[in-house]
C-alpha cells in the first residue's frame, strides 16, 4: 500500500494545465514543420508559418496558444494498492484546475448547465475518467479540449455489413463537413467498437496518441496512413484556404463490440490539441 497526497495531485494538475495550454507538443510542431515543407501554395505555407510563430510567442511569453483554453478532460489511472490521503480525489483535481486557470491567466470556458448557461468562473468541473490497475503506480493524462473542433465531431451506429468501407466513408464525410469550421490542419481521433458510450471515449483517447509513431496494430496503421493521404488530398488546407496540409495526424482506437453493432466516433481536434502526461 502506498499513500499519496491528493494535494500533490492537485498541485501537479495546476502546473500541467498551464503548461499544456502554453507549450505546443513536439509531435504537433514536427508535423507542422513537415507540412510547411510540402506546401506549394503561398497562403497555406504562410498560415503554417504563423501557427509556428504563434507557438513560439506563446511559449516565450507564457500566454495560451489559443484563447479557447478548453474544458479539461482528466484520465486518472492508478493502482489498486494506492491509498489517497489528505482529501477527496475529484475535489483535488478540480482545485488544481481552478488554481491553474486563475493563476495562469487561462480563459474560463465552462458553463454549469447547458441550457441556463451560467459561467462557473473557474473552468471547473473537469470531465474525469478513472481507471484501476494493479500495483501502486499513478499515471495522469490531461486534455484541455477546445470546442471549435469538438463541435464538429460525429458518432454513428453502423451495421456490421457496413464494414470497414462504411467506417471509412463516415470518417471522411465527417472531416469534409468539418471543413474550415474546425480550424484545420486537424488532428482526428477515431473510435471504432464498444457501445454508444465507449466509442466516443475511444475516439477521445485516440487524441492522446503520438502523431508520428505508427499504430502498434499493422491493420490499423495501414488504415491510418491511407485515410491520412485521402484527407490531405481533399485540398482543404490550413484554415480552409486550400493546400495539402489538412491533417496533422489521424489515430484509431478499437474496442470489443456487440455482434449486432459497428459503432464509429470521430472526435475532431485542431492544431492546438493540448495534452500532457505525468506520473506521481
Amino acid at each position: 500500500m502506498r499513500d499519496i497526497s491528493v494535494t500533490r495531485l492537485s498541485d501537479t494538475i495546476r502546473d500541467a494545465v498551464i503548461r499544456a495550454n502554453t507549450v505546443m507538443t513536439p509531435d504537433i510542431k514536427r508535423q507542422l514543420e513537415r507540412g510547411q515543407k510540402q506546401e506549394t501554395e503561398a497562403m497555406a505555407s504562410a498560415v503554417i508559418a504563423d501557427l509556428l510563430e504563434n507557438a513560439a510567442i506563446a511559449q516565450a511569453e507564457r500566454i495560451p496558444m489559443c484563447q479557447d483554453t478548453g474544458m479539461v478532460v482528466v484520465y486518472l489511472t492508478f493502482g489498486q494498492d494506492v491509498h489517497w490521503v489528505d482529501g477527496e480525489v475529484e475535489a483535488a483535481i478540480n482545485d488544481g484546475i481552478r488554481r491553474g486557470y486563475s493563476e495562469g491567466y487561462l480563459r474560463f470556458s465552462v458553463v454549469a448547465d447547458p441550457l441556463r448557461r451560467v459561467n462557473t468562473r473557474d473552468n471547473t468541473p473537469a470531465i474525469v475518467h478513472y481507471r484501476l490497475t494493479a500495483g501502486e503506480r499513478v499515471h495522469v493524462d490531461i486534455l484541455p479540449k477546445g470546442f471549435g473542433a469538438e463541435n464538429r465531431s460525429r458518432l454513428a451506429m453502423l451495421k456490421p455489413s457496413d464494414g470497414q468501407a462504411g467506417v471509412e466513408r463516415f470518417i471522411l464525410e465527417t472531416v469534409r463537413i468539418a471543413g474550415p469550421q474546425a480550424c484545420p490542419p486537424f488532428i482526428v481521433g477515431v473510435g471504432i467498437g464498444g457501445d454508444f458510450e465507449r466509442v466516443a471515449e475511444l475516439a477521445k483517447e485516440a487524441l492522446l496518441e503520438p502523431l508520428d509513431a505508427p499504430n502498434a496494430d499493422p491493420y490499423l496503421a495501414e488504415m491510418e496512413t491511407r485515410l491520412g493521404e485521402t484527407i490531405n488530398a481533399m485540398g482543404i488546407g490550413p484554415q480552409g484556404f486550400g493546400g495539402r496540409t489538412t491533417l496533422l495526424g489521424l489515430r484509431i482506437k478499437v474496442g470489443a463490440t456487440h455482434i449486432a453493432g459497428l459503432p464509429v466516433a470521430v472526435n475532431m481536434s485542431c492544431h492546438s490539441t493540448r495534452h500532457l502526461a505525468f506520473d506521481l
Binding site: I63, D68, S109, R117, G148, Q239, F241
Partner: protein, 193 residues
C-alpha cells in the same frame, strides 16, 4: 522560411470604421490589415442582443457602422493589453447576424463558413466578413493595442469589449458582391449550417 500571414508589410491597411466605398472595393481573397476600433462579442452577447432587440429594448452600444470581432479573449497578464485573442467559429453567430446587418453592422471578423442567409445579407447590406487565423491567438494579440469593457460583464469571457486593432491581418471571406473565398478555393460545404 516563408513570411506569415501576419506580416503586414505587403498588405493594404483598412481604417475602421469601414466606409461604403472601401466595402464596395473589397473582394474575397484580398489580404488586408485592419486598424481601428472593433467590438469583441461572441455567442452569449449575440443572444442577449437578439433578446433585447426582440423586446424593443435599446442596446447599451451602437451597432451602426461597427465591425464585430468574434472573440472571447483569455485574461490579460499584468502589463499586457489582452491575453490570447484569436477568432472563434463564426457559424454559431449566423442566426443572429442578419438582424445586426439590417441595423448597420458593416464588418465581421471570425473563422469558417457562414450560412447562406448571412452571405445573402452581407450582399444585401454591402458589408464584409473577414477571416483571421484560428488558433493564432498569441500572435494576433500583438495586433491589439487597447481593450476596455463595453457591456455585460456578467458574461465573463463572453462580455462585450472594445478592442483597438493595429495592422490586424485578415483575409476577405465574403464580400459585398456575394463572393465566397472558401467556395472559390475548396468548393461549397457539404452541409448548409
Amino acid at each position: 522560411m516563408s513570411q506569415g500571414q501576419h506580416d503586414a508589410s505587403t498588405r493594404a491597411t483598412l481604417h475602421l470604421p469601414l466606409d461604403t466605398a472601401t466595402l464596395a472595393g473589397l473582394r474575397a481573397g484580398d489580404q488586408v490589415a485592419l486598424t481601428g476600433p472593433v467590438l469583441g462579442a461572441r455567442d452569449a452577447a449575440h443572444q442577449r442582443m437578439h433578446d433585447m432587440l426582440a423586446t424593443g429594448e435599446p442596446l447599451p452600444f451602437a451597432i451602426t457602422g461597427e465591425t464585430i470581432y468574434y472573440v472571447g479573449p483569455s485574461p490579460a497578464q499584468p502589463g499586457h493589453v489582452i491575453g490570447s485573442a484569436g477568432p472563434t467559429s463564426s457559424y454559431r453567430m449566423d442566426a443572429y447576424t442578419p438582424e445586426l446587418l439590417a441595423l448597420g453592422l458593416r464588418g465581421m471578423i471570425g473563422k469558417g463558413r457562414r450560412s447562406r442567409e448571412v452571405v445573402e445579407a452581407i450582399k444585401r447590406y454591402g458589408a464584409v466578413y473577414f477571416g483571421a487565423i484560428g488558433g493564432a491567438g498569441a500572435l494576433l494579440a500583438r495586433r491589439i493595442r487597447g481593450q476596455e469593457p463595453v457591456a455585460w460583464d456578467d458574461l465573463g469571457a463572453e462580455a462585450v469589449v472594445r478592442l483597438w486593432l493595429e495592422a490586424f491581418p485578415v483575409v476577405v471571406i465574403n464580400d459585398a458582391s456575394g463572393n465566397d473565398l472558401y467556395d472559390n478555393v475548396i468548393g461549397p460545404g457539404l452541409v448548409d449550417e
